[in-house]
């Protein structure tokens, strides 16, 4: 692989600066955001590079777990912030985070132990990137599906209550919206799998090829990752939507929209 030095990155940074200057001239106010985002990318990625370097040198289960949980909690916050009408109190955070824990962690451990079979199984070179890709993708599915569910419950509250009034259970009254929420959470990964290799070359595969791996080997890893992500997203979305659908009703199966925050 061609090693990159600081000068190479400076040249690439010049492109961003030129773009920022152009947008100033065009009186577009995006230049400041662009520069800040570019600086964030450089700083954040440098930091994670250092963290991973230290982690790889101290590959104990304790450190790897600490890193994994830190990633989980940050992703959980992201899921919460992306929902317009999220649940009030700690439920708003816990429902999404628990679903991600269930899906991403379970699938990652499964892949590490059963499929990859490294020694030790938690080898951070595999565990951390794998978990990162799973969290990043299940995060999307869970955030979209929960947002969709709580939004539908609010918008369609008259219909849901009309169904309750006619003697339907809470489960029956919400089932249609639960189905739609799961579907919309799954669509991004279904589209990504359908378009992979034709419309887009997935980032991980591209990275492996740049790093010198044979395309056929890189492709095998990418297929593995796609399958893991779709399983994780499906599991996580199902868990989140089912937790959410229960939380929308109380023990007497009353629709409790006061459990949602105003947007």
């Amino acid at each position: 692989m061609v090693e990159l030095n600081v000068i190479d990155l400076m040249i690439a940074a010049m492109l961003v600066v030129v773009l920022a200057l152009m947008s100033v001239r065009l009186r577009s106010n995006i230049s400041q955001q662009l520069i800040i985002a570019a600086i964030r990318t450089a700083v954040q990625l440098t930091l994670i590079g250092l963290v991973l370097k230290v982690l790889f040198e101290n590959a104990t289960l304790g450190w790897v777990s600490l890193m994994a949980f830190f990633m989980l909690f940050v992703a959980g916050r992201e899921v919460m912030m992306r929902q317009e009408r999220r649940f009030k109190g700690w439920w708003g955070y816990a429902a999404g985070t628990f679903s991600m824990f269930l899906s991403s962690f379970a699938i990652t451990v499964f892949a590490l132990v059963v499929i990859l079979g490294n020694d030790p199984w938690y080898a951070p070179q595999y565990a951390i990137p794998l978990l990162g890709m799973l969290l990043g993708n299940t995060m999307n599915g869970i955030a979209i599906s929960m947002d969709r569910l709580t939004h539908a419950a609010w918008e369609q509250r008259h219909i849901i209550e009309a169904r309750l009034m006619l003697g339907q259970t809470a489960d029956e009254a919400i089932s249609e919206y639960r189905r739609q929420a799961v579907r919309s959470g799954m669509i991004p990964i279904i589209n990504a799998m359908a378009a992979a290799g034709i419309v887009s070359l997935p980032g991980m595969m591209t990275g492996q090829i740049l790093a010198g791996a044979l395309p056929v080997d890189a492709v095998k890893y990418q297929i593995l990752i796609m399958f893991l992500i779709s399983a994780g997203t499906g599991l996580g979305t199902l868990a989140a939507v089912n937790i959410g659908a229960r939380r929308l009703f109380d023990d007497r199966q009353r629709l409790c929209l006061d459990r949602l925050r105003e947007p």
């Binding site: 009309a162 009034m165 003697g167 009353r254």
Partner: protein, 210 residues
């Protein structure tokens, strides 16, 4: 032999500005409730249908509401809200047995069941919502201004259908109405909601007969 418990017994029910309300309703009763808008009549009906959290107890034929499955409670105590909701494309999709719907009693034509819900008038929706509720055969009917969008002829039809249902099924009716004439036609008890409580009122033009 002890007397049978009332069909519906409500003890010290409270919900927001409503209550405490205590009420005992027997088979065949028709209670009319009137009161200024915003006094909480709809909230009272929602609480009785157990759609909102509330204080106090309710019993159906002596069985506490908490001992009855929520869906069963709401099937037996059917609430007709002022605005009906429809969630399937065709009218008939909302009825378990579309052949058994007594459309002509409410002046509706037979082919209305085949129509899309979007094409119904507000009066048609209101009458169909009543038929949809009655198809569940509730023992207590909670009616929230069921004739608000109807002309006098259809108002009378609705009153007749409800009265006949009440007699045939030994059901009870709690009916929110602003129309004094309607109260006189259908009610055997009349209350007004004021300051959160139910105050007994006379029924205009009606002689008390035992």
């Amino acid at each position: 032999m002890s007397k049978a418990p009332p069909l519906l017994q409500i003890n010290r029910l409270r919900r927001l500005m409503i209550g405490p309300v205590s009420l005992s309703v027997d088979e065949g009763d028709c209670l009319c409730i009137s009161g200024a808008s915003g006094s909480g009549k709809s909230l009272l009906l929602r609480a009785i249908a157990d759609l909102d959290a509330h204080e106090g107890q309710m019993m159906l034929q002596g069985v506490p509401s908490v001992a009855i499955e929520p869906a069963t409670w709401r099937t037996r105590i059917g609430l007709l809200p002022p605005e009906s909701s429809w969630w399937l494309p065709l009218v008939k999709n909302h009825f378990p047995d579309s052949a058994a719907v007594p459309l002509e009693q409410l002046g509706l034509s037979d082919d209305i069941l085949e129509q899309p819900v979007a094409r119904l008038s507000s009066g048609e929706r209101q009458r169909l919502a009543l038929l949809r509720l009655l198809a569940n055969q509730p023992q207590v009917l909670l009616l929230d201004e069921p004739t608000a969008n109807l002309d006098p002829e259809n108002t009378r039809r609705v009153e007749t259908v409800i009265t006949e249902y009440r007699r045939a099924h030994k059901a009870a009716v709690i009916w929110v109405s602003h129309d004094v004439g309607q109260v006189a036609r259908v009610a055997n008890r009349h209350y007004e909601v004021s300051q959160g409580g139910l105050q007994p009122r006379d029924i205009e033009g009606q002689q008390w007969l035992s």
